[in-house]
Subunit: 270 residues, 3 copies
C-alpha cells in the first residue's frame, strides 16, 4: 500500500522548533510520506482561525491524513481524535475542540471517529504540554502508513464531536449585516457571507455600496479583482474561497476600517 | 520520465495558508515532485525584491520548474506566463511583470514562452484573486511531470516579455555612486554594484573608505567577512552573490545608516 | 545504500531566501534525501538558543545528518566541522562554536570529527559570508548520500571541539536559584533546571510556590499542564523536554515577569 500524503496546520509558528519536531516525528514513523505544511501561522490558540484556514485549504489538498493542532486545552480533558469523513476517505487528526469541524463539513461530515488519548501509536512517555509531538503527529503518521483508524484509538460517537458555529449573516432587502471572520497578511477581511448568500440579496457585482462599521461609512465597489478599483480604494469581492471579503487595492482594508474579527460590518447598496 | 524538481518563491508569507495551499495543489498534480520553498517572505507586492531573490537563488537550484508569485496585478490584463530559458532547460512560471526577468538573465535569456491565462492545466473555476493556487501552481506541476511547454498555453513572442531594469551605478575615479537594491534580515544592504564593476574603480579590498548617505559620512573598511571589523563597525564587502554590500559586524547597516531601498549611497576611498 | 535523512536548523529566518537556497543546494547534491526543517527562527547569532533547540529536537528525529547553522563568526578562523556521535550513527554538521555540543551530549558525545573548511564537497568559489550554502549544506548532502566522514575533511581531535556550558542551578533546602535559558513564541520560559534536579529539592508537584525575579515575587503553582491554573495565572511545570519552565495559562510568563534569557529566577516553596 502506498503511504498517504499528510497535510499539517498549526499555531506553532516558525520561530520555535515545535512544528519541525512534529515533522521529525513523522519522518521517523513514515519516512516515505509526502508532508505538506499548510501553515503554522494560525493565531495563537485561535481555534476558529485555524478551522477556517483548514477548511479553505483541504479541498485543494490530495486526500490523505490531515493533521491540525491549535490546542489551548492541551493536557486537559478535551478529547484528541482521529475522524474519517464521508468523502475521499480523508482522515482528520487533532483536538476535538471544533478545529476540525469546518473541514469535515466540506467532505460530507464525520462517519467514524476514535479517541486517541491513549493510542498505541503515541510516544512514551507522553508529555502533558506537547501533544503535537507525542500524540497527534505519530498517530497521523501511522494512519498515513495505512494502519486502521480503529487501531488508533477507542470509538467515539460522531454525533458527540464538537463543531464550531460561524454565525450566519442577516440578509435584508436593503442591507447585509455581516461579521468579520478573519483578516489575512494583506489586510483583506473575510466576512461570514458566502457565494450562496448573495442570491436574492441587495448587492450586485459592479455596483457601488457603502460599508458601515462602528458608525462610520466608507464608499466601496463590488468588484471582481483588486485592480478594478483605484489604489487606496475599498472594494467588496468574492474571494478565492467564494466568500465575501473587503480589500483595499495595494492597501489594507483591515487597517482602513480598523476591523478585527467578530466586528459587525453592514453592507448597504448605494 | 522522472518528475522534475520545482522551486517556489512568493510574497505569500507564512502567517496564512496561501503558500501551503499552492503546495497542496502541486502535491495533487505531481505527488512525486521534489518541491523546494526558496522563500515566501518577499516584501508584499515588491516585484523587484522577489526578482532579486529569485535570480540569486536559481543558480544554486537544480534545473527544473521555477514557480514565482509576486503579483500585485493579479486578475488584470498582466500576462501569466511560462518561459523556457536558454540554459539547463529550466522553465520559469509566474506573472509577466518583471519578476522572472532577472532570473532568466542568469540563464541566457528566454527562448520560448507561453501565455497560460487560459491554460488547460488551470483549476476550474479559477478565482480572480488567487492565481498562485488556480493557475501558476497547477501549470508548474504539470510542467514538472514533463508536459510540453506548448501544451501549457498559447505562444508569446519572447521579445515582448517584460524585463526589470536595475539602475547601473556610476563609477568615478574618486567615488562610486550606488543605490540600495535590498536589505536582508540581518540588516545587510545590497548595492547595485557587481563584482565586475569594481575593476578600474577607486575601491580596493582591505582599504578604508567613507560611506555617504543623506549628507552623512561614516567610515568603513572594504573587508572580506564580518569579523574583519570590530563589533558595531561598518564594512563594505562582496556578498555571497558577488554584489557589493554594507554590513555592521553583529549589527545592522540598514539601521546604522537608516537606509531603505533605492536610497543613494556614495562610496569614497578614504 | 539508501540516502539518509537530513534535518536543518538555522537562524536564517524565513524573510529571506537563505534557508531556501541551502535546501536548493541539498536538492542538487542529494535529490532523494528527506529534509526536515526543524526551525530557521533561532534568534540571530544566538548560538545557545540554537544549541538548545537542536538538542531538544534531535531525540525525536530519525538518525541521519543534522545540519545546523548559527554562525556569527562565519568566514573567520572558527572551525566548520562534521562530527559523528557515539549513538545512532548520527552526524552533526555546522560551525564548531558550541552550537552542536548540547546535541552531541544527548547521543553519547562525539567520537569522530573532521574540519570541513576545505572539504572537497564545498561549492567553488566559496563565499566568505554564506557557508551555509557553500560549505555546510553540500557537505551534509554528500554525507547523506553515504560518503565517508573521513572524505569530507581533515581529522580533528574530538577533545578539542568547543562545548557550551549551561550554568547549573543552585538547589537549596528552601529555594532553587535558577536562570532563564530561553523563551518561546508562547511566552513560556525555560529554566536551567532539569527533571533530575528536582529529586531532593524543595518543590513538590501540585504545591504552591513564589517566583522571585528582580526583587518582585509572584505566586504560582507547580502544575502539570496549562489548564491546571486559571487563565492569567502563573504556573511552574515540567515542559515537554522535562525541563522546569514558567507559563501563564493563555498568557505569557515572559511578559508577566519581564524575563529575558540569563535572568535569575528564585523559586520558593510557599
Amino acid at each position: 500500500v502506498a503511504t498517504r500524503p499528510i497535510t499539517f496546520l498549526s499555531d506553532y509558528g516558525t520561530d520555535d522548533e515545535f512544528a519541525g519536531v512534529c515533522r521529525a516525528v513523522i519522518a521517523r514513523v513514515a519516512p516515505s510520506a509526502l508532508v505538506v505544511d499548510l501553515t503554522h501561522g494560525v493565531r495563537r490558540h485561535d481555534v476558529r482561525d485555524g478551522a477556517v484556514a483548514l477548511a479553505n485549504s483541504l479541498p485543494f489538498a490530495p486526500p490523505g491524513v490531515h493533521l491540525a493542532v491549535v490546542d489551548p486545552g492541551v493536557g486537559t480533558a478535551r478529547r484528541p481524535v482521529a475522524v474519517r469523513v464521508a468523502e475521499d476517505d480523508r482522515i482528520l487528526v487533532g483536538p476535538d475542540n471544533g478545529l476540525l469541524s469546518l473541514a469535515w463539513g466540506r467532505f460530507g461530515g464525520p462517519v467514524e471517529a476514535v479517541d486517541i488519548a491513549t493510542s498505541q501509536f503515541r510516544l512514551e512517555p507522553a508529555s502533558s504540554t506537547f501533544h503535537g509531538r507525542d500524540l497527534f503527529a505519530p498517530v497521523a503518521a501511522h494512519l498515513a502508513l495505512g494502519d486502521d483508524l480503529g487501531q488508533a484509538g477507542t470509538p467515539v460517537d460522531v454525533e458527540k464531536l464538537n463543531a464550531l458555529e460561524i454565525p450566519a449573516p442577516r440578509i435584508w432587502p436593503d442591507r447585509i449585516v455581516a461579521h468579520v471572520v478573519r483578516t489575512d497578511r494583506f489586510g483583506n477581511v473575510s466576512l461570514n457571507v458566502g457565494h450562496e448568500d448573495l442570491a436574492g440579496g441587495p448587492l450586485r457585482l459592479g455596483e457601488p455600496l457603502a460599508v458601515e462599521s462602528a458608525g462610520e461609512r466608507v464608499g466601496a465597489s463590488f468588484a471582481r479583482t483588486f485592480e478594478d478599483v483605484d489604489p487606496g480604494k475599498l472594494m467588496l469581492y468574492e474571494d478565492s474561497t467564494r466568500t465575501l471579503a473587503l480589500a483595499v487595492n495595494r492597501g489594507s482594508a483591515a487597517d482602513l476600517l480598523r476591523l478585527r474579527r467578530d466586528d459587525e460590518v453592514v453592507l448597504h447598496p448605494a
